[in-house]
């Protein structure tokens, strides 16, 4: 494959960013919008071409003996730290990056299109498209990274584009603080990522994914068994790298930024905070998968973090009022699902286990399907918000009559995420659960429960929005379906969500490139389906019509409900730590110390000199006899002191 297309895929969004960013002021909205959509459309086409070429051309560069290869389209030197440790910028094609190319460009294009309608009346339209392009560029750069450092570079860039987009409505203080929070929390996580890279690359002397993952045991050997605080340094490195992923993918305890990030425009939430950027953590783990497998502890760590987060987020999602928050927590929960799935996977055969690599495939599969239906849900939520001008489900209810397209597409999304056959979520979730059960029954059972919760809160949301009872305000302001620019993406994504489960994903994406034949595990599928259906039924009973049942539930478990409603007080804890301890306790103390101790010492030298200067002025009394006295004493003192010193 030539390098033209890959380079174009990266450069086109960048170019659009510069064009719209610098020249945007001089453009009309329309021109900017069309340019943006066209640019993204072209990129999408190119990405499709590349991805399909990779998957289906059968070119020996890409596939040898049925095993898909990792292929570096290009890899140029960007910065050489040392002769050996060189940062390259390149384009790596392998199953997951090709898959991600498709996901990113698709969703991005949908969002571009959707935004044209959604953002029509907002100021800074051109800027918005510029930022979207920047994000697309960064995200594409991230997924095609040939080395971990390139990934880190783009990792930071997606962070900043996320910051810019969350804070798009920069006149609102809440948006500003949300964007700040998102950036700083992920930045903190990136610190771990950076330290991880430092440690890892110190031993491997390379950043390159291919050379690290192709022979992971070598990496272990290179560390020479070095340990730090009881763990091998490789464990430290991998866990630290995973920390970066935890930040981006909003794993507990670094999840707090994601719900707040919903302050951004809803299409942005769909693109960044549902489909693409937040799965970067998953992608990172998948990318480094063979190395993770070398250190068992890190895999266990990933599993635990994922499992806890998934459950936590699902519980919280059951109580939220803001529809975007519900979706946000749902996203967290689903990503955690993928994490667990990766965590249970192994790149080597465990005796008696046939499924060791299944989790990987399933996670990726879920990543793909989740991106589609979650984007669909977010875009649907955007349409709702667009119609009702509120994020709050209490301002909604009974909307199915007014907004049929939105209603149906949203329902499809809900079914998909709940894992109902034949929607896409069923297939991916089933594979994941199968992998988990195969690893240990505990993971399977736990995550099945989470899946049930998922179905419950999604349908709770669905019913509260579209059923329950009508908001009386509709009479003044009748909600209606969104314009075609917005509806079209909804329909497309809904269609994809319906069918994408039938994609033979295992043929395309596996940890080692060798195809894997998906087959539904009947017991697992049955269990999860049952749980999901039961959960949906429960939701139907509780929320289909206005009734006091939810109120009763709430009153039955007041403590739990309040805690869940306040997201188990994570924000408050963080606020306390950052504001009271770090800001007031450390920063202010240091600033005070600087002014009143260090600076005062420096001033003190001057003051003391001044003081001394004043205190000795009596020497110059104006009386010549006193002068002579000093004179004489001085002469005597010179002689006497020297005398004493010499003798």
């Amino acid at each position: 494959m030539g390098i033209t297309l890959p380079i174009l895929i990266l450069c086109l969004p960048l170019f659009m960013f510069l064009l719209l960013g610098i020249g945007g002021v001089k453009m009309s909205r329309k021109v900017a919008g069309i340019l943006g959509i066209l640019g993204m459309g072209t990129t999408m086409t190119l990405a499709y071409i590349v991805a399909f070429t990779y998957f289906f051309s059968g070119n020996p560069e890409f596939i040898i003996d049925g095993v898909r290869q990792q292929y570096q389209v290009f890899d140029v030197t960007w910065l050489a730290f040392t002769p050996k440790l060189v940062v390259n910028l390149g384009f790596l094609l392998d199953p997951i990056s090709a898959m991600m190319l498709v996901v990113i460009t698709t969703i991005s294009f949908m969002v571009h299109l959707y935004s044209w309608g959604y953002m029509e009346h907002e100021g800074g339209f051109q800027r918005y498209y510029a930022f979207l392009s920047l994000f697309s560029f960064s995200m594409l750069g991230l997924v095609v990274a040939t080395n971990i450092f390139q990934m880190y570079i783009f990792w930071e860039l997606v962070g900043v584009s996320s910051f810019l987009l969350i804070g798009f409505f920069y006149r609102l203080p809440s948006a500003v603080s949300a964007s700040k929070k998102a950036f700083i929390v992920t930045r903190f996580a990136d610190l771990g990522f950076l330290l991880g890279i430092l440690t890892l690359s110190y031993f491997t002397d390379t950043f390159n994914f291919v050379s690290m993952t192709s022979n992971p045991m070598n990496v272990l050997a290179e560390t020479g068994g070095a340990t730090f605080m009881g763990c091998s340094v490789l464990t430290w490195a991998m866990v630290l790298i995973f920390t970066g992923g935890m930040g981006k993918s909003a794993m507990l305890p670094l999840h707090i930024w994601l719900p707040d990030a919903m302050e951004g425009p809803t299409p942005v939430s769909a693109l960044i905070h549902a489909a693409t950027m937040v799965v970067a953590g998953v992608y990172l783990v998948a990318r480094m998968f063979p190395v993770y497998c070398v250190v068992e502890a890190s895999m266990t760590f990933i599993c635990c973090v994922g499992a806890i987060t998934a459950f936590y987020a699902a519980v919280v999602a059951c109580t939220q009022v803001d529809i975007k928050r519900v979706l946000a927590f749902s996203t967290i929960s689903q990503i955690a699902f993928m994490m667990v799935s990766l965590g249970v996977a192994r790149d080597y055969m465990i005796p008696g286990e046939h499924y060791s690599g299944l989790g990987y495939m399933a996670g990726m599969f879920h990543l793909f399907t989740h991106a589609m239906f979650k984007a669909l849900l977010f875009l649907g939520a955007g349409a709702l918000i667009h119609a009702v001008h509120s994020n709050d489900y209490t301002k909604m209810g009974g909307l199915r009559k007014y907004m049929p397209i939105t209603h149906w597409t949203f329902l499809i999304g809900c079914l998909a995420i709940a894992g109902i056959y034949p929607f896409s979520g069923f297939f991916s979730k089933d594979e994941m659960l199968a992998a988990m059960f195969a690893r240990h029954w505990f993971w399977g059972a736990w995550m099945t429960m989470v899946a049930g919760l998922t179905a419950f809160y999604m349908f709770r949301l669905y019913y509260l929005i579209f059923w329950w009872e009508e908001n009386p305000e509709y009479e003044h302001h009748k909600p209606h379906d969104a314009p075609w620019q917005m509806s079209l993406p909804l329909i497309i994504l809904a269609a994809v969500s319906c069918v994408s489960g039938f994609i033979p994903f295992g043929e395309l994406v596996t940890w080692n490139g060798a195809p894997y034949h998906i087959h539904i595990e009947a017991p697992v599928a049955a269990t999860s389906l049952t749980v999901a259906v039961l959960a949906i039924l429960l939701a139907t009973v509780m929320y289909r019509k206005k009734n006091p049942l939810p109120e009763k539930f709430r009153n039955a478990l007041p403590g739990l409900w309040t805690a869940a409603y306040h997201r188990f007080y994570w924000d408050e804890i963080y606020l306390f730590i950052t504001h009271n301890i770090i800001f007031n306790g450390i920063c202010k103390a240091i600033a005070w110390f600087d002014r009143h101790v260090i600076d005062a010492t420096m001033d003190g030298f001057a003051k003391v000199t001044q003081k001394v200067s004043y205190s000795i002025r009596g020497m110059q009394s104006g009386n010549v006899q006193a002068y002579v006295l000093w004179y004489f004493f001085g002469a005597l003192a010179l002689a006497i002191i020297t005398l004493i010193c010499i003798i």
């Binding site: 002025r617 110059q620 009394s621 104006g622 009386n623 010549v624 006899q625 006193a626 002579v628 006295l629 004489f632």
Partner: protein
Amino acid sequence: MDLNLLWYLVPSVVMFACGVYGFVTRKNMIAILISLELMLNSADLNFAIFNRFLFPGSMEGMVFTLFAIAIAAAETAIAIAIIINIYRAVGSTNVLESNKMKH
């Protein structure tokens, strides 16, 4: 008991010390000048004494003393001129009153 140079040096040193004491304790400028004369004279005497007792063959010290007397005369002359001058300007020769410039 025989006179040697230490005998002579003692009154000289006492003279010198008296001069120092007088300088710092007298108020009248002329009295201060008188004290200074004591000190100068003491130094002159020293030269003569050293010359006589240590280097009797030469007369370097004596010559020095001769010149020193001349210098002392010149110093006194100028000092007295200035004192008279200041007396004409402020009507007093009290040294304590000449301390307008200080610190």
